[in-house]
Amino acid sequence: MTRPEKICERIFALAKGVQTETLIERASGALTRFADNEISQNVHNGSSTVSIRFVDNGRTSRVTLNQFDQAALERAVKTGLETLKRQKKDKNLPPLAGPRPLERGSNIFSRETAELSPLYRAQKIKNLVRICKKAGQTAYGTLENGLTSYTVANTRGVFASHLESYVIYDITVKAGSGFGWAQTQAADVEKIDFEAVNRTARLKAAMSKNPRDIKPGLYPVILEPAAAADLLSYLCAYSFGGRFYNEGSSFTSGNLGKKLLSAGLSIEDNALYGPAAGMPFDFEGQPRRRVVLVEKGVLKAVVHDRKTAAAAGTASTGHALPQPDNFTPFPLNLSVRPGGNSVEEMIKNSEKAILVTQFHYTNLLKPLNMEITGMTRNGTFLIENGKISKPLKNMRFTQSMTKAFNETEAVGRDAVLCQVWGKINCPAFKLKAFNFSSATEF
C-alpha cells in the first residue's frame, strides 16, 4: 500500500478546498482455530481501507473504500462532495478539528509478534493438544496475531498515526463434563506464557467435572478477572459516555461527584500509558486524555468527544468515534485499580460464595441501574468454609451492577488484560451479593 501521507495528499488535492478528514486503517491478522484436538480453521487477512469525511458549511458526508488507485479515489471524492450538496445545512455541525499536541503514548508494536508464522501457531497448539490427548482431555481455542494501524489526518493540519501488534491465546479444555477456560493477550509474544494458560484451563476443566445443582439465589460471589472485566466494561461503556450522560440515560447523569460505588473501586481510562494503552488519539485525531472515571467509589467524570463536550459545557477528552456517530463516545482503555487480595485469599476468607471464571452472553436490561443478565461459563464453583467444595452447573444472573459494585468486599491484587468493549485491565472482585436468577442443565 502507498504510504498514508501520500494517500492523504492525493485525497486532499481532489477535495478542492472542502474540509476533508481521512481515516486510514490497515490490518493484517492471522488466526489458527482448533477444536476437538485438531486445527479446524486457519486464516490470514490483509486489508486496508480509507474513510473520507467531508465537512462544508454545516453539511457532512463520508465515503469509504479499499482501493487506492487514482480513479477509485476520484470516484469516491466525487460521491462524497455530491452528497454534501444534497442535504440541508446543520448550524450545530462543528468544523473539522484543528491539530493539538499529541503525546507519543506507549510503544505497543512488535514486528515479530505481528508476523508469527502459521507454523509457529501450529506448534504452540500442538503442544497443548499433545498434553490434552495424553490426559484424555479435549482442546478448543484460537491463537491469533497481527497488527492494526490507524492514521487520522485532515486539511486543517491534523496528522496522527498509530501502530500496534497483538497476540491472543484463548483456550477451552474439556474433561468429561468439565470445562475450563483461560486466555492471555499482549502486544509482544515474549510476554505470553503459553504453558501457564494451558495449566490453568486444564486444571479448571478437571476440577469442574460432574458439576452439581445449586438453588438459584443471592450469593456472595468471587469474580475472576475476566468475569469482572465483562461486567465493568459494560458498566463503563453505557454509563461513562458523554452522550448517554447528556441524555440522562446513564446512572452517572446528574451524579458526578457522588459516591455511588464501593470505596474499593477505582477506574481510569488511559490510552497513553499502562497496561491497557492503545491509540493515543481519537478518530478525529484529538489527544486522548487520561480520565479518572471512578475514584474510591466516587463518580468523577465521563468521556467526551467535541460534540458531547460542547453540549455538556466542557472540553473534549479525546474519545470521538468516527464522526458523526450514532452511539456515544466511550472509554476504550480501561484500568481498574488492583487491591490487596489474591483470588486464593478471597476463597480462603469466604464461608460460602460462588467462584465464577467467565460469563457468557451478557446483555443490558436497564441502563439506569445497569441491570445486566448473562450466564456463567467454563468453571463455576461453590466455596464453602474457605475451600472450593464442588463444581456447579452454570447459572443465569440478573443483577444491577451499580448495586453489586457498591458492595465490594475485596479487590484482587493481580490485574489481567482483557478485551471486551475495548481493552480493560482488571483484577478479581469479591462482591457481597449477586443475584443468580435461574439455572441451566450443564
Binding site: 442535504q87 436497564k366 443465569r396
Partner: protein, 482 residues
Amino acid sequence: MFKLAVKAIEIADKRKADFADIRIIEARRQNLSVKNGEIAGLNDTVTLGFGVRVLLRGSWGFASSNNLNRHSIELCTLKAIEIARAGAMITGKPARMAAEPPWQDFWQTPFIKDPFAVPIEKKLDLLFKTDAILRKNPRIKSATGNISFIREHQWHLTTEGSRIEQMLLSSGAGASATAISGGEVQIRSYPSTHGGQALSGGYELIETLDLAGNAERTREEALALLTAPQCPSGRKDLIIGQNQLALQIHESVGHATELDRVLGYEESYAGSSFATTEKLGKFRYASPIVNLVADATLPGGLATAGYDDDAVQAQRWHIVRNGILSGYMTNREFAHAIGAARSRGSCRADGFSNIPITRICNLSLMPGNTPYEEIIASTKDGIIMENNKSWSIDQKRLNFQFGCESGWLVKNGKKTILVKNPTYQGITPEFWNSCDAIADENHWRLYGVVNCGKGQPSQTAMMCHGSSPARFKKVKIGVKNH
C-alpha cells in the same frame, strides 16, 4: 473477474489441492442515519477484494486481500497453501467436502427500485420527517432513524468447475424513540428493534415500511411506557409477536441447529448445542403443531441466494417437523457427520475477507390455523410481548432470557393494560413444547436479522425469520430477585 480468479484455481490444481475456491466480491453499502435532528451517519462504502480457500491433505488454509490483481491472487493462494500445510501438523480427521454438482450460473435478488439510484435527499427527507414527529414531545430525549442498503456482486470459482456469479441486494430501515422521565428510560422502535426491518430487495421495502406514518404511534407508545406499571412476575401464557418470535427462533432453534456448533467446532467461542446428532429424527424439540423450515429460496429472505459460499444450490428443508428435530444447518465439510450425501447449503462468509462458515439460513415458523383474535380470546391469564430489547442464552442454547419493549396483559380473553420492562425466560425444549397455538397465515410476517455474530475472526451474517404470533403456556415471566 473470472479471468483473474482462474489464477487461484490453476495454482491450487498444480499443488494438488483436494479443493479450492476463490470468491471475488465487490460491495457497496449506503448507511444513512438521523439522530435528534442531525445527521448521525451518511456513509457510502465501496469495497473490492478476494478470498482464497484451499483444502490440502485434509487441512484448510485461507487468505484474502483487497489488492485485486493476478500477482496478489498468486501470493494469497500460496499463502493459503502454506497455512494449510502448517495446519496439517495436527489434523486428526482430514476435512472432506460433500459432493455437489459444478454449477455455472448467474443469480440476482429480484427488486423493483434500485436503492442506490434513489436520490440521497429523498432518503434524508424521510428520516428528518420521521425524526421531527418522534421528537414532538420534550420527554422524548433521543430519536433515531436509519436506512441502509447493501449490494454484493460476487464471482465464485471452484476447482470442481463451479462458476457462479451473484448480485445480492438488501434494504432496511427503522426508527426508535427513547423517552426519559422520572427515573425511567423507555424505548419503542418501529418496525422492530436493533436497526429496524431489513429484507432482500430494493427501495420498495423502505416505501412499504412508512417510517413517518408510524412515527406518532411509536412516540406515544414510548411515552406510555414511562407511566406503565412494571410487568408482574410469575407463570403466564405468553403470546409472542412476530418481531420478538424472530429472535426467539434465531437464538433457540437457528443457532442450536448449526451443525458446526453441534459437532463442537464453536465450543471455545459461540458455544455448542444441546441438539446433538443422535437426536436427529427422534427428539421432541417442540409441540406437534410446530414446524420450522429453513429456506434459502424464500422471497425477501436475507439469506436468500442462488448458491451459498460452498457453491451449493439453494434449498428448503425442515429443521423441526411436527415438533421433531428433523434437520440441521449444514456446510459441505460437516454434512457427512449426519450421514448426508449433500450439504443443505448453509455456508456463508462475511464479505471477501472471511472464510465461509456454517450459518443460520432463513428459518421460519410455519403458520398455524388459529385466528390471532381467537388466541387472545382463549387466553385467561396471559401477556403479549413485542419487540426485543435484550437477549441472552447459554452456550448450549438451553437457558434463555429475553426482554421486550412492551407487554400487554391479557385477562379473561381481553387485552387489558400496557406494562413496562417485560421479560421471560425458559429452557428451549420445554418452552417450544409449551406452544399450543400458532396464528394463521394472515398474520405471518418476515423479519430480518442483520447482525448475527459468529466465528473467529468475528463475522456477521444476515438472515430472516418468519412467523405468526404464537402462544406458549405457563412461561416464567419476570426475573426473581432474591
